[in-house]
Structure formats: structure tokens, C-alpha cells
């Protein structure tokens, strides 16, 4: 078996024709970057399970699907917008992308304070090109990653949030990615968050699909957190039951910066949420928490890489998953500490509840520590519901299903409670209740 999966995606073959419509088409630097990235993708191809980082997540089925590109005309797709009621809050800034295309009429931008840019990538390239360009170029030249290269070649719209030094964006920012294409479609959002020194912003991304529409979402998000700045970045993944979701978030943190990431991954047929955080300044803090829920034949992969390169950094990760049916969970958590990163504090915990015989988790914590004065720990457990606890609850009159639900909620509660109390916590509980009420297998 080769290290590559060769796919012949129709949209890739139509690059020349499609590229005229891409955001920023005609900007030389961007056209060149797209072209270089396309060549890179064609050279790299999709990774097979022979590649260590992809050992547990197989892209073969993805490679077989004849994906096309979302076109401007499909941006007004008849999304079930009642779903939106369950997302976000009334008072937030909101950008909406329908099948990857920016939808101005559904978006809503409250008056923005000076020093805050919240916009879509296409507009940002025209009006703030010099702010955006260095970030796009840096990330795109960085490494040999096929999916990153593909995203760069085909990047569609996405959100851009830039907060200047010292500014606090009080109002939360919501980014809605809604998808329901009628034929297999690939969507490549490119997002950018730049928080200047001592600034503060809170963002929540919702990736939601309807029914079982067939699509592949391949978002790349770059997050740059300046000195003493704080970014809270939450994400909910509830793609359609037939969707593929392969997301990468690349975070860099300056001195004393704080990034608080939260992930709820519950949808898609196959998903991989990859987060890389580089603590590149003294005393940077990174907190990543998350929940993954999967049933039937869903595949849910959470991959994190935390790199401590400077002294005094803290990172803390808690991921909990519940797997039912024949679902397959993957947790890969890498924490590396460079020789210079003394006094690093790095902790990671992964716990999975397996509700059925057919459910499976592959968990691979990896610590690479090259400094001596560090405190690092990792723990991973996988287990079933406790028979005695179930018996105790049922002996008090709860039926078997209720008792299981009570214990599952209790298992995840710690992670839900790690987010600030309020709308988002309620929304997480609603997602969990929804998931539970779809029925658990009885084994």
C-alpha cells in the first residue's frame, strides 16, 4: 500500500476554469500562491493510512466521491434556517456562509468599534489586502500538508476577524457555515483571526449541514494571538450524516497570550478536527477542551498538536467522547516541549465511553519533552457504563434508557461546565440531549 491516495476530483481538474471566480482572482501574489499550492497538492496527493498521522483515519471513501466545487449560484441553497434558532444568540455579530458562499442577507454586523474588522475574505482581500496577505502566505508556504495545499489552491470565502491592539470586542462573533448542496460538493473556507496585543475576542463557529447531503468541508483557520491578548474560539461540528469534515486550525501565541479553544464534534460521516497551537512567547496559555459524540458508522478524529517553544507556557486539554453503534473515535494528542521551553506546564486528558461492543477508540497521546524543568502529564481511558451505577439508578425507578442517559450526561458534564455559563452551555446541553434522544443501542 502506498503512502498516497490518488483521487481524481472533478473540481481539481477544473482549476483553470474555476480560478477566474475565486476570491481575489487577478491578484498576482494570490494567483501564484494558488497555483503553487495546486501543484503541491497534485504532488502530495491525499495521505493514506500508511502516513503515521493518518494511521486511524482513512480517506479512501472521500477519494472515491466525485466532488465538484460550490458555485456562486448554489450559495442561495434552500437551507433549513429554522436550525439557526438553535445557534448563537440574538445580539452577536454574525457572518453566514451557505455552501461556502458568503451570504450577506443572512449576516448581521452590529456597529463595530474602531480597530475591529469583521468581514469575509473576499472583501478583506480588496480592502485590507496588506493585512491579510502576510498571514495567508506564511501559512501556505509553511509545510507539506496536502489538505492545507488543497485549501489554499481552492480557498473560497471565509471569515476575517482582525482586532487592533488593546481593543476588546465585547459582543461575541458568530460564524455560521451552513451546507446542503444537492450533489457532491467540496467547500474550502479559509478563515483568519488576528488579535493584536492586549486585545480580546470571542468567536463561535457553527458547521451545520442538513439531512444527508453529500459534501466535503475542508476549512483552514489561522489564529494569531498577540502579546497579552485573549481569544476564545469555540466550534460546533454538526455536519450532515453523509458529509466529510476535515478541519485544521493553526494557532500561534505570543508572550502571555491566551487561547481558549472548545470543540463539539457530533456530526458528519467522517470528521477530523485538527488543532495545532504553537506557544511562541513566554508564559503563553492554551486551553483546549472538547466533546465528541458518534454513533452508527461515524468516524470522529480529534488531533491536537501543542508545541511549547518558549519558557513558562501552560497548556491544558480535556477531551471526552461517547461512542455508540459501530462508530470509531480517534484521539491523537501531541505535546512537544523544546529545549528552551523550561517551566512548561502541559496536561492532557482523554476519556472515552464506549456504549456498544462495536464502538472503537484509538487514542494516541504523545509527549516529546526536550527540557528538564517541566510538568507534563497525559492520561487516556476508555470504558463502559458502570453496571453497579446503572443498577442503583434503576433500582430507584429510572428505566434502563434514562439511567444510561443520566450517566452519559454525568460523564461529559465536566467538559460542558468548563465553558462559561450562558447561551453556549445551554446549546451544548441541547446538542447532547438531541444526540441522546436519537436512541442508544441497548447492548
Amino acid at each position: 500500500m502506498s503512502r498516497q491516495i490518488i483521487a481524481e476530483f472533478p473540481f481539481v481538474e477544473r482549476f483553470d476554469e474555476l480560478s477566474a471566480e475565486f476570491p481575489g482572482a487577478g491578484l498576482d501574489w494570490l494567483d501564484t500562491m494558488r497555483r503553487t499550492s495546486l501543484d503541491r497538492f497534485n504532488r502530495l496527493a491525499l495521505p493514506s493510512t500508511r502516513v503515521e498521522a493518518w494511521k486511524y483515519t482513512n480517506l479512501r471513501e472521500l477519494a472515491k466521491t466525485p466532488f465538484e466545487m460550490a458555485e456562486a449560484s448554489s450559495g442561495s441553497a434552500s437551507l433549513d434556517l429554522s436550525e439557526q434558532a438553535a445557534m448563537g444568540s440574538e445580539s452577536a455579530h454574525r457572518l453566514v456562509f451557505a455552501n461556502g458562499i458568503y451570504n450577506a442577507s443572512l449576516s448581521r454586523l452590529e456597529t463595530l468599534p474602531d480597530g475591529v474588522i469583521i468581514t469575509n475574505l473576499e472583501d478583506a482581500l480588496t480592502t485590507h489586502g496588506s493585512l491579510v496577505r502576510p498571514h495567508l502566505e506564511r501559512l501556505s508556504s509553511l509545510e507539506e500538508d496536502a489538505l492545507l495545499a488543497l485549501n489554499t489552491a481552492f480557498m473560497m470565502n471565509g471569515y476575517v476577524v482582525i482586532v487592533e491592539e488593546g481593543i476588546e470586542v465585547g459582543t461575541p462573533i458568530e460564524l455560521l457555515f451552513l451546507s446542503d448542496p444537492s450533489s457532491p460538493t467540496s467547500i474550502h473556507p479559509r478563515n483568519l483571526i488576528v488579535a493584536g496585543a492586549e486585545s480580546n475576542a470571542k468567536l463561535t463557529e457553527w458547521h451545520v449541514g442538513s439531512g444527508d447531503s453529500d459534501y466535503w468541508s475542508n476549512p483552514v483557520t489561522e489564529v494569531v494571538v498577540g502579546p497579552e491578548a485573549a481569544v476564545s474560539h469555540r466550534k460546533v461540528q454538526r455536519e450532515s450524516a453523509s458529509a466529510f469534515h476535515l478541519a485544521q486550525t493553526r494557532v500561534s501565541l505570543a508572550g502571555n497570550a491566551t487561547y481558549t479553544g472548545f470543540l463539539m464534534s457530533a456530526g458528519a460521516r467522517l470528521s477530523r478536527c485538527e488543532v495545532e497551537a504553537r506557544l511562541e512567547g513566554d508564559g503563553a496559555n492554551c486551553e483546549l477542551d472538547g466533546i465528541y459524540l458518534a454513533r452508527d458508522h461515524q468516524h470522529s478524529d480529534i488531533t491536537t498538536r501543542i508545541a511549547h517553544t518558549e519558557p513558562g507556557g501552560n497548556s491544558r486539554q480535556v477531551f471526552k467522547g461517547v461512542l455508540d453503534g459501530h462508530s470509531h473515535g480517534v484521539f491523537q494528542g501531541q505535546v512537544s516541549v523544546s529545549p528552551d521551553a523550561q517551566r512548561t506546564d502541559g496536561h492532557q486528558l482523554n476519556k472515552t465511553l464506549l456504549l456498544s461492543e462495536g464502538a472503537e477508540i484509538d487514542t494516541k497521546p504523545e509527549l516529546e519533552i526536550c527540557a528538564d524543568d517541566v510538568k507534563c502529564s497525559h492520561g487516556a481511558t476508555a470504558g463502559q457504563l458502570d453496571e453497579l451505577e446503572l443498577f442503583y439508578l434503576r433500582s430507584r425507578g429510572l428505566d434502563a434508557e434514562e439511567a444510561r442517559q443520566v450517566l452519559i450526561r454525568a460523564f461529559i458534564a465536566e467538559v460542558v461546565e468548563s465553558v462559561e455559563e450562558g447561551d453556549f452551555q445551554d446549546q451544548l446541553n441541547t446538542i447532547i440531549d438531541d444526540w441522546l434522544s436519537n436512541g442508544l443501542s441497548t447492548s
Binding site: E387, S395, G397, L398, A400, R409, A410
Partner: protein, 250 residues
Amino acid sequence: MLEIKNLHARVDDRDVLNGIDLSISAGEVHAIMGPNGSGKSTLAYVLAGRDGYEVTEGSIHYQGNDLLDLAIEERAREGIFLAFQYPVEIPGVAGTTFLRTAVNSLRKHRGEKEFDAMQFVKYVREKQSELNITDDMLRRPVNVGFSGGEKKRNEILQMALLEPKFAVLDETDSGLDIDALKTVADGVNTLRDPNRSMLVITHYQRLLDYIVPDFVHVLAHGRIVKSGGKELALELEKEGYGALTGTQAA
């Protein structure tokens, strides 16, 4: 109310109950005593319906129906309650939430309106203070970090809230200090009722001074080897189980 005939039960391929006959009428309190490992808790679990406690022979009828046909929660809803010898800790589930869910599932079964949070607090408050259970204990996760005595009091609180018809108390007295023993016994006595029966498992005659039984049985090697009135407990306290179990072995 409860009729056990020739009950044999097996746990993990081990025969633990070897032919128990016991009949309990409405309003009666029966005590079961017996050496460690004689099968007392096993009997309690079989009555509550725990998985893995397989009845290989015999029958149990409860209010005229075959008890063994009912699932664990159906038994609870029909009024069977087990106060556990070792109450189970449930991390992540707040005590009040647990109690309210339990009470409401029984109320629903009886066709009564479920309590909302406020109504429930009112309902619990009185019984809670009788048993010296603080609000703080109820806010914490079920039994987590409770002392032995607190766990036992919490079991009796559950019994008081669920108002069973047939209650099994498995060593509810062990681990209690003298005052707590009195509190718990008072709690139990309040629940004595012509329509409610109890099976009290204990090692100590002292509990039976407070909760005076109508009958006392001695269980050894999974069988009832002797039955009598409340004075049997005194006798056992003096002479131990030696003579009885010896007879059994011969």
C-alpha cells in the same frame, strides 16, 4: 405480600442461595441475620433484580404476581426498595437531580403529576431534616465523598421519598454511630405501616431494639436454618452462629 419458595440462585457460576422459603405479610417486619458470606446481600439483590444474579430454581411472588418477570425499574415502580449495604457513588450526578428523577419516575408510573424543582425542594425539606441531611449533601454528587454513616442516612432518605411497599434494608445499621443509628431507626419506624413490609438484614441485635421485628430468621449457606420471634436475636447474640451453622454442616 411476598412469597419466596425454594429459591436457588447463582452468581458467577457459584450457587449462593440453596432453597430459601420465606413468606412476609403486609405490615410485617422480618429480620435476617447470619454469618458473613451466607447469602444475605445476594437475596437482597435477587429481590431487586440485579443482572447476573440468576435464579436457577424456585419462585418469588409479590402481591400475587411473579416478581422475577419484572425488570429492575418495574420492581421499583411496584414498590420494592433496596437500601444498599454499600450505597453506590455516582460522580457527576447531583443528589437533588437524582432524587427528583427517581421520585418523578415513580409519580409518572402512578399517574401523578411530576414535581418541578420548587415543589420537589418542598417535598424533600421535611424528610431531609428528620434524617439530618444537609442541603450541601444533596447538592454534591450522589454519595461521592460521603462518610459511611452519611451514605446510610441518604439511603433511608430515598426510602422515605419513594414510599415503597416492600423495603429491604441491607445492613443499614453498620457504620452508624449511636446517634445516627437512632436517627435512622426513627426514620424507619415512621415508615412502618400496616400496608408496608420490611426485610431488615443486620448483624446486630441492637438495631432490633429500635426496629422491633415480628420474625427473625437465620441464614447460613444460602438457607434459612432457623426462624423465631424477636427473642431469637438475643439468643444469637449470646451464643453466636456456631451451633446453628455446625448443625447445617453435619
